[in-house]
């Protein structure tokens, strides 16, 4: 009888046991994992260590990493693999064949989507408290300062712009700005012909390219500009709210 009671006590414990060895093969999953359950990281993607695109680069630098390579990942014996919806599909298929639990993350494009995703992943990692604390920090940032109701263009390398349904557009609207573009390519002359009140660009990486040099063309110097770290906008996480706070007044 005693052993049966002990077994019954164990059931809820084990059914609810959180995965302890989690591997991420996606930059955005890396950031969720590091924020929600850093102690359970078995490996991150190598991109997580790049400070120009990863907002957790300093923490990730001290953590193990693995490429999206099925053999290397299996050798880590993960009990959960986090990936992106669209990346590393052959690897993911192989891992699933070998019976490894895999969760694929979508890319939210607004703060409601971010909230839902953080709660889902926090649930999966059994880290609800960490998730709620992170979301509370996000809400604080989203409410910081006052909206800035001017016309804005978020200009990306090669002249692409943020349009409806993109995280950049959501960030601008959340900051109270009025986006002028619909996601089309905006050339240098077209930008200057109808200049926005504020030009939002990602801070350029250390090494030059024509795509990013365009954003610093001398003819654009007359337009008021706000530079944002690209890591805040590449992945939609509660940290994206920092971009909103930076754009408010």
């Amino acid at each position: 009888m005693t052993w049966l009671a002990a077994l019954l006590l164990l059931v809820p414990c084990c059914a609810w046991a959180a995965p302890v060895q989690v591997v991420s093969v996606n930059l955005c999953a890396d950031q969720l994992l590091v924020h929600l359950a850093p102690e359970r990281v078995a490996a991150l993607s190598p991109l997580a260590r790049d400070p120009t695109i990863s907002e957790v680069a300093d923490i990730a630098a001290a953590m193990p990493w693995v490429r999206a390579d099925a053999e290397a990942i299996l050798a880590l014996h993960p009990d959960l693999v986090l990936g992106g919806r669209y990346g590393a599909q052959p690897t993911i298929a192989l891992l699933r064949q070998r019976g490894v639990p895999v969760d694929l993350l979508d890319m939210p494009s607004d703060f409601a989507g971010i909230r839902t995703q953080v709660r889902e992943v926090a649930e999966l990692l059994n880290a609800r408290a960490a998730g709620e604390a992170w979301l509370a920090q996000m809400d604080e940032r989203l409410a910081a300062r006052r909206p800035w109701p001017v016309r804005a263009v978020m200009w990306e390398p090669r002249g692409w712009t943020s349009g409806p349904g993109s995280l950049g557009d959501s960030v601008m609207r959340q900051a109270g700005l009025r986006p002028m573009t619909e996601g089309h390519m905006l050339g240098l002359e077209a930008l200057l012909a109808d200049p926005p009140d504020v030009l939002i660009v990602a801070r350029a990486p250390d090494y030059p390219s024509l795509a990013t040099d365009l954003l610093r063309h001398p003819a654009t110097q007359a337009i008021r500009r706000v530079s944002l770290p690209p890591a805040w906008l590449i992945c939609a996480t509660p940290e994206s709210a920092r971009a909103v706070a930076r754009l408010r007044r």
Binding site: E189, A190, A193, P208, L210, D213, H217, P218, A219
Partner: protein, 310 residues
């Protein structure tokens, strides 16, 4: 000759009226900071390429000689790619033209060594090999560059483009191109003598080696300066001297000076077309101007090759 300069002036004025902001006279900042440097670069680069082509055709006694076909433009672009993507030019801006004209000079010297030994065919083959090699190394350098956008920019460097350049680029490219063109324009008589053959030229008292070396140096400066900010634009140097021969004769000395305005007008016209096309067609941005010069130049090359073969 006067007509060519009038044509160029008309195109230059027209060029200030075409751009992404629409047709017509733009606001002052667009005019001065975008369309003016772009127009000036097209003139200098096109003129430099054409004068280089005319000099090379004279010095090598080969009607197919062209800085693009012979790989000088490609090597210059490779030098620029190395200086630009690896951050040297960010630390010290003139590193960009210096790297590209050193690479162009190395290519020109290599070609002269080949030309000294073999005939017409071996020179062209060496040029083709140099072009292919430089394109391959450009691809490799871009793939290794620590910037994720670099590899997508291979069309800019291989085909050549003067989109979105600024006054700073003009300041970097203009001195080497102008010096190179000035050097080449002094070589008319030497090149005329060379067209009789090296021995005949030497017997006329012409300093053959000096002429050939100065031609290589002038081409490296004119082509390298352009490739530093616009990549390897092809076919201008091939096409222009041939367009001029019916009017100005076969002698290199007669072709050098008119090559500048016609080359400038050709590249400027091609660039205006490239700027105007997105206003007509649903393009994702601009085509590199090298696409247009290749579309004009490649058929001309076929015609020429047939004529040479006969």
């Amino acid at each position: 000759m006067k007509l060519l300069w009038v044509l160029l002036l008309a195109l230059a004025l027209g060029s200030l009226l075409v751009g992404g902001a629409g047709l017509g006279l733009p606001r002052a900042d667009i005019l001065w900071q975008i369309r003016l440097p772009r127009t000036a670069l097209a003139i200098l680069i096109g003129g430099g390429l054409a004068v280089s082509g005319a000099s090379l055709q004279g010095a090598l006694r080969n009607p197919l000689a062209d800085p693009g076909l012979l790989g000088i433009g490609g090597c210059a672009a490779l030098g620029a790619v190395l200086a630009y993507y690896w951050g040297w030019s960010a630390a010290f801006a003139p590193a960009l033209p210096v790297a590209s004209l050193l690479a162009a000079l190395a290519a020109a010297v290599a070609l002269l060594l080949v030309a000294g030994r073999g005939g017409v065919l071996s020179l062209i083959l060496a040029g083709v090999a140099l072009s292919a090699l430089s394109a391959a190394f450009i691809a490799l350098a871009l793939a290794l560059a620590p910037n994720p956008y670099a590899l997508a920019e291979i069309t800019f460097w291989l085909l050549g483009s003067i989109a979105d350049r600024s006054l700073a680029h003009l300041a970097l490219a203009a001195p080497p191109i102008l010096i190179g063109v000035a050097v080449l324009l002094t070589l008319g008589r030497g090149l005329d003598a060379l067209s009789l053959g090296e021995d005949a030229a030497a017997s006329l008292g012409q300093p053959v080696q000096r002429t050939v070396r100065l031609a290589a140096l002038g081409c490296a400066l004119a082509v390298g300066g352009g490739a530093a900010v616009a990549g390897g634009i092809g076919f201008v140097g091939l096409l222009v001297p041939h367009l001029l021969r019916p009017w100005f004769g076969e002698r290199p000395s007669g072709l050098l000076a008119p090559s500048f305005p016609l080359g400038a007008a050709l590249l400027l016209g091609a660039d205006m077309l490239v700027r105007g096309l997105p206003l007509l067609l649903p393009l994702n941005g601009e085509l590199p101007v090298g696409v247009v010069t290749a579309m004009l130049g490649a058929p001309a090359l076929v015609v020429l090759a047939r004529r040479v073969g006969r």
